[in-house]
Structures are given as C-alpha cells and as structure tokens.
C-alpha cells in the first residue's frame, strides 16, 4: 500500500502559502486513502501554476499544453481504460483557453476526474484576469475591472457532467474527501477548487473564502440529483459559497459505448495486419 511518502515529488516551485499546497496534500491523501499506487494513475495537466501539480507528486504524468489537458486525457483513457485518469487545470486553462474541450468532454461523459485549481486569476503569467475573476476585478489587463465570470458549476450541470462539486483548498480534510468521491465516480467529474493565490489575488483570500464557504452536506434536504436545486446552488456566490457535491447524475460513459473496448484495453490488443485482407477484397 502506497503511503503519503510514496507520493512525494520533485521540489516545489509554488509560493509559500499558496492554496495549491492544500490541493496537493489533499490529492496525495485521497490517493493513499483510496489505496491507489502511483503507476495506476495518469495525471494529465495543462500549463499554469496548477499544471505543475503532477510533478510534485507521483504517477504517470502527461503535462500538456495550456488549455488542453482534457484532450490527451481522453485519448489516453480510451487507449487504456484501466488507467485512473485525473486531469488538472487552472481556471484559465480550464475555462479560458480550454473552454471548448470542457463543454464537449462533459457532454460525452468521458470517465475522467477534472480538478480545477480555481484561483480566479492567471497566476503563472503574473496576475491577469481569468474567466472566473469576480466581476470588476482589477488587473493590468482589466484596468476597468473584469467582465462577469463564467459559472463553471452551472456550465457543468447543463452540459452533462455526471458529478459536479466544489472544494476549498483551505480545508484539506473536506477536499480530500471530495477528491476521493470524484476519483471513485464513473464518468466525468468536475471538482472546482477555490484556491487562494497569495501573490496575485488579493481579493479572494483565505479569509474571504473562509468567511463564505459552507458544506452542502450539512444542509438538510439538499439533493444533488435534483437539477433545478443544483442550478440554484450554482448561482450562489457572494455572502455564502456552497462546497461539496452539487450535482450528480447517472449515465453511460463514453468508453462504455465504444464497441472496440469490449475486447479489453486497446493498448493490450495485438496488431495483426493480416486481418485487413478482407477489406481489400471488398474493393475488388
């Protein structure tokens, strides 16, 4: 059984105090508690501070392009469904550059866990507005304030994600639980994680989040399978910010509908050119 120590990675280049540390620790804890070994998982990340996470733990790693982690994750998952595929993005990565892949990955319901480090800012490029920056957020590229943000939770709900949650990097215990739930889920799961960026986001700080986040599981009667309720919760952003599982539905994954996969992982199938002979005959 792997331990937290087995999940140690290369030296970390994040700023001291960054919310990413909480996420990293939660990821390790979740993997250990799920009894997973590093070689069983594939971490596919984009570019940004968030995208460095895979290097700071252990697993197979494909650190891809800015905005694109979902696509190689999909390819790898179809090639080898035995891999637990976890994609990792920042908010710019996921909802800006990668917005289109986000939509379509959800609608097709690929069996991938998507962790989005949502610090509401472009951190690696030094502090421009991101698609989730609060409306009016002032940065060097938005001197008059950012436009209203995308709502990733609502987008996920209406786009067919089968598990939609929000976590908070400041609460490792709770976050690790959500990561476990997400990884254990069959189908596409979005886990949007509120992540303080101590260097570039001086609005949405630890304090700011702490004063607002609450746990849905403590809210009596909340039913994450009720889409209308979930959409209402998705709108909640201000005095109170819900965390936990916001929405959940059951449907077939993309892989489950690929006939070729019935024979086992594609990567394990032998190559036999001779089989193509009959195709030639069709053309005579």
């Amino acid at each position: 059984m792997a331990t937290i120590a087995d999940y140690a990675g290369i030296p970390i280049a994040w700023c001291p105090g960054c919310g990413n540390f909480g996420i990293l620790n939660s990821v390790k804890r979740a993997l250990v508690e799920l009894g997973m070994e590093p070689h069983q998982i594939l971490l596919v990340s984009g570019i940004g501070q968030a995208g460095k996470l895979p290097h700071y733990t252990k697993g197979n790693v494909f650190n891809s392009l800015h905005g694109r982690p979902l696509s190689p994750a999909i390819g790898a998952k179809i090639a080898n469904p035995e891999l637990k595929v976890i994609a990792i993005s920042g908010d710019g990565d996921a909802y800006g550059e990668g917005g289109n892949h986000f939509l379509h990955t959800m609608r097709r319901n690929h069996d991938i866990t998507y962790l989005v480090h949502d610090n509401q800012v472009y951190a690696l490029t030094k502090g421009q507005a991101s698609p989730t920056s609060d409306a009016g957020f002032v940065t060097k590229t938005t001197p008059y304030g950012a436009a209203p943000p995308v709502n990733p939770i609502a987008l996920a709900i209406v786009s067919g994600a089968t598990l939609v949650s929000r976590g908070y990097a400041g609460d490792i215990e709770h976050l690790a639980g959500l990561i476990k739930t997400s990884i254990s889920h069959k189908g596409f799961s979005l886990l949007d994680i509120l992540q303080p960026c101590v260097s570039f986001n001086h609005k949405n700080t630890y304090n700011w989040y702490r004063e607002r986040v609450y746990k849905l599981e403590n809210e009596a009667g909340y039913d994450p399978t009720n889409k209308a309720l979930a959409l209402a919760k998705a709108e909640e952003w201000g005095e109170r910010i819900p965390t936990g599982v916001i929405y959940r539905q059951d449907r077939l994954t993309y892989d489950e509908q690929i006939p070729a996969l019935k024979m086992g992982p594609l990567v394990k199938q032998k190559i036999d050119p001779g089989l193509a002979a009959k195709l030639l005959d069709e053309l005579l």
Partner: protein
C-alpha cells in the same frame, strides 16, 4: 499506354453524377481494364455543376486525359461547358425530351432519359441510371458485368432491380437507335480482379493494416472520408474513432492515445492543420508518436474547399515554433497512400515523433485500379519498447538521453515504472527544468533522431535516364500526370526524364543536385503559386530549377504539362 476510352458524366449536384461515374468505373474495372477517375464538384449539396471523368485503358494509367469520347450530360449546362472537349468521333448523351435546343451540335445523341426511367423503372430518380445504360450501350460493353456491379452498388432488392431495368433501357435504346460513327467499343479483356479505390481509401486501409487503434478527427474536405472509413470499421478492427469538437482536441486526443501506447492518428486539411500546429510541437517535445494526414486544398483560409492544390508544403515542413524532428511523406499513387501510411506509423513509433502524410484533394478523391496490396509485406516496427519486466523498473526515465536520440518507451500502467513527460523542457525523467545544460542536451538528443530517420527516407525516384536534356520534378499527386507527360515528350523525340519525391522530410539525400547539374534544364511541376518544392530544392541543394505552376484548384493533365514544356521552348 493505350487509352481506350474517356467518359465524362456531368450534371448538377444531386443528379447522381457520382454514382454513374463510379459504377462505370467499376464495371470497366471488372472487365479487366485499368481505370483512373476523378471528380470535380462544388462546395454545395444540390445544384451547381459537377463532373466525373473515367478514363479506361488496357495498361496502367494514373492521370486524367482531356479528350472525351462519351459525355453523359445530365443537364444542359454540361453540354455547354464541355462540348468543346468532346473528341472527333465522340458522343454526347443527353435527354432530348428535356433539352431541346442543341440542334447545332453534331456529336449530340438524344435519349429520352427521364421518360425511360419512369416507364421502365417507375421513378425519374433513375434518370441517371438510364444515362449510364446509354453510355454502356454506346461502347457496347457486356451488360452482364455492369448488371452485377449495379446489383452490388444498390445492395440487391427492388432498388437494384429497378436500376438494372433503367440501365438496360438506356442501353437498349442506344443499341437500337444510334447509327453514328462512334467507334470506341470495349469488351471485357480479362478476369483479373483489381481494387478500385481512392487515395483516402488507401490511406485508411494502410492505417488499419498498420494497427492504428485510435483516430480522432474533425470533418474537413478532403480527408473526411478517412474518418468515416475508420468509423465504419472501428468495431470490426478494434479501434476507436472519436469525432472531436475541433481539430485542437483531435490532435491532442491522438497524442494522448499515442502516449498511452496505441498507434493513433488524425486527419485534416490546411485550416484544421493550423489548429493542430500547437499539438504538433507537443508531440515533438514529449516524443509521442502520432500520424497526421494533411489533405491539401486551395488556400489560403477556406479557399476552394472541394478542389485541389499542393500549397501546404512549407507550412507542414516548418509548422510550430522551435526546432524538433518530424517526418513528412507525400504519396503520389494509391499504392503510396497505403504503404507510406504504414511507414508513417512505423517511423512515428521508431523515432517517437509526429509524422505527416501529405495528400491533396485530387489524390484523396480520385479513383483508380491497382493490384491488391500484399498484406503479408506489411511489417510492424514499433521501435524501442521496454519489456513488461523492464516496465517495472522504478528508475525508468522516459526521456533517457541516448546516442541515437531514442529513449526506450514504456506505457503508463504497463508496469510500476512511471512514464512522465512534459510540454515544458524537461530532464530525462520528464520533469520540467530551467537550466541551460539540460536544455541543450535535450535539444541535441531529440535532433539526433534525424540521423537515423534520414536513413529511412527513400531517395527520389528517377524515371528515365539521368542523361537528359529536360528533367521534370514532382511530388505528391502530380506523379501520374508527370510520368505520362514524360512518356509523351519522349515519344515525340525529346530527351526528358522525371524525378519524383514522395518522402519529403528529412529531405532525401539522393543525388538531386547531381541530376540537376546533368540536365540541361529542369522544372518543378507543382500545384501552387510560388513553387514551394522548387524553393525547398534550392534550400537543400543550392540549385535553381524552373517551375510550372498551376493554382486554379484543378489537377494537372499530362497534356497540360507537355504544352507547358513546349512553351518553354528549345
């Protein structure tokens, strides 16, 4: 080469031009003839003007020819546009009850196409099949062969039966009523069975034979039918075809699959390739095998979506920032399409890099007859894969620096070894780095792969003697036309040879410079406006060549090349 017959079928999109053309081609192929057929159509679904040309010969042909022996005109516009192309004793078949004002055209022979369709087959949608029959009647082709082809094409049942009736009616009408001096009669010459396919079919077959297990693509002319073919065979051949939301996703999915250990590919055209350029470099730096079919069409931008060009050469060679190795193959024949696709998959895995297969609309959508591929010759070379045992080595380094530049490749999940890679510059273990030394060593390692790769590239193919006055040079889909032009010029007494490149990058060493020096003059014949191959040859050899360029979206004919060379004088 004896060209026996040239048929052209013309009409609006939606009138069934393509079916008539294809069935004719198939029927003649079944009779042992060699076929080359191409399509000319607009970017629309109904209306406009389309045509399909079928050239029939008793030896191998690989290009279209101009003089039309039989013009099947499904509408009046076809007559207006193409009557000048009709050969001396040629015939225009048309519906004389629908098109009544063609009195002055001697070659026109009227057949009540629509009426026969209604009377004999019960539906005017079969008007085109009547015309098909009329053409068969004119050339006195054995109807039984065509009947069988019709049955297969329409998959049996009533629809087949009615179409056969319609064709027979057309055939009979001509036999009974045509008394002109048309004399290009054909009858089956052998039982030899050849495949009739187009370039995209051949590429798809190559991919399946090579063991491609994953395709992700986004529809785009002229490569859409590759994704469609792969989808159709996915179940049977244990492969997955994903229609991606865009080309960015398509290539990145394929790269993910390649990283995970299966042979993967995507296919697109220029605009889609633009969107794939970033992924191309991702494959480069992560050393992930991936095959990209780039089907050229006239650019820039949307250009002429359903026409042909060879204008993407420089773009494909140099796409993406920075330096990294890639291979670029450019089939010129249906055989090439198959074998170079197989080679593409092998090179991609042996050298762990992206390989491009460049084709164009003309090659992709033209049909021809070729001998069955000898599948037993398909060799699968997967390169340096680690054994399942080695894949448990916890010291495994995905980007191990080696002399050859090639690092042993494990797959994620294969064993306990972790397979780590990164779009950032990285160390041997695959983790991102900042230092100058590792950077330089990694660049050198990747570029060293070019040494081995270069040796895999076949030299250009010389047709004719190296001692020549005129050397014609081509690449990609112009091969057939250039060869035939070479033959014609030689027959006419000129000293002409031709040189053909189908494996473009790393640039084939061969003795191109030597041949250029020997020839009195040389011309690169290519379908683009600036002579991109000519520039490449200049870059690689320092030598200048002349160019014969065409960029109107239409393919070269042998005769056009012959004329162009003559115009160059001497």
């Amino acid at each position: 080469m004896n060209s026996h017959l040239n048929v052209m079928v013309g009409g609006e999109a939606g009138q069934g031009v393509q079916s008539v053309g294809f069935i004719l081609a198939k029927a003649f192929a079944r009779g042992g003839y060699h076929i080359f057929a191409d399509q000319d159509y607009e970017s629309r679904i109904r209306g406009g003007h389309n045509f399909y040309r079928v050239r029939v010969a008793d030896s191998k042909i690989a290009a279209i020819a101009e003089a039309v022996d039989v013009l099947v005109a499904l509408n009046k516009e076809t007559i207006e546009l193409h009557q000048k192309e009709v050969a001396a004793k040629g015939v225009i078949v048309f519906d004389n009850e629908k098109i009544t004002d063609v009195a002055g055209i001697p070659s026109a022979f009227g057949v009540p196409l629509e009426r026969l369709a209604v009377e004999q087959a019960g539906d005017k949608v079969m008007t085109n099949t009547v015309a098909l029959g009329a053409a068969l009647g004119l050339v006195r082709y054995d109807f039984a062969v065509s009947e069988q082809v019709l049955r297969e094409y329409f998959k049996g049942g009533d629809i087949s039966a009615n179409n056969i009736k319609a064709a027979r009616a057309g055939c009979k009408y001509v036999q009974e009523n045509y008394h002109g001096d048309f004399d290009r009669f054909l009858s089956p010459i052998s039982q030899v069975k050849r495949m009739l396919l187009n370039g995209n079919d051949a590429i798809s077959l190559g991919a399946i034979a090579a063991g491609c297990k994953f395709v992700a693509a986004y529809p785009m002319t002229p490569t859409t039918s590759i994704m469609e073919y792969m989808a159709a065979k996915a179940d049977e051949f244990g492969l997955a075809m994903v229609q991606a939301e865009d080309e960015i996703s398509a290539i990145n999915m394929a790269i993910g699959a390649g990283y995970a250990g299966v042979r993967a590919m995507t296919a697109t055209s220029g605009s889609g390739f633009c969107l794939m350029t970033e992924g191309l470099g991702l494959a480069g730096i992560t050393e992930t095998p991936v095959v990209i079919v780039e089907g050229q069409r006239p650019g820039p931008a949307v250009g002429l979506p359903t026409r042909t060009e060879q204008g993407d050469l420089q773009f494909v060679l140099y796409a993406h920032q920075g330096d990294f190795p890639r291979a670029v193959l450019a089939p010129g024949t249906f055989e090439d399409c198959f074998w170079l696709t197989v080679k593409a998959f092998n090179l991609a895995e042996k050298y762990q890099l992206p390989v491009l297969v460049m084709t164009d609309h003309h090659l992709a959508s033209s049909y021809g007859t070729i001998e069955k591929f000898d599948i037993s010759k398909v060799a699968i070379e997967r390169g340096l894969l680690v054994s399942d045992k080695e894949a448990n080595d916890s010291a495994y380094k995905r980007h191990l620096i080696t002399e050859s530049g090639i690092s042993p490749r494990a797959f994620p999940g294969q064993g306990k070894a972790l397979v780590v890679t990164d779009a950032d510059e990285h160390d041997e273990a695959g983790h991102l780095i900042e230092d100058a030394d590792t950077r330089t060593r990694m660049m050198d390692k990747r570029l060293r792969k070019l040494t081995g790769l270069s040796k895999e590239i076949s030299p250009p193919e010389l047709y004719g003697s190296a001692e020549t006055d005129t050397l014609l040079i081509g690449w990609g889909s112009t091969r057939g036309a250039i060869r035939e032009a070479t033959d014609i010029l030689c027959q006419e007494g000129s000293s002409v040879s031709s040189l053909y490149l189908s494996e473009l990058w790393p640039f084939p060493s061969g003795n191109i410079a030597g041949l250029l020096d020997k020839a009195k003059r040389s011309f690169v014949i290519e379908s683009n406006a600036t002579g991109q191959m000519s520039r490449l040859i200049r870059t690689e050899t320092g030598k200048k060549t002349g160019t014969i360029l065409k960029y109107d979206g239409r393919p070269f004919t042998p005769n056009e090349i012959v004329q162009a060379i003559k115009k160059e004088g001497r």
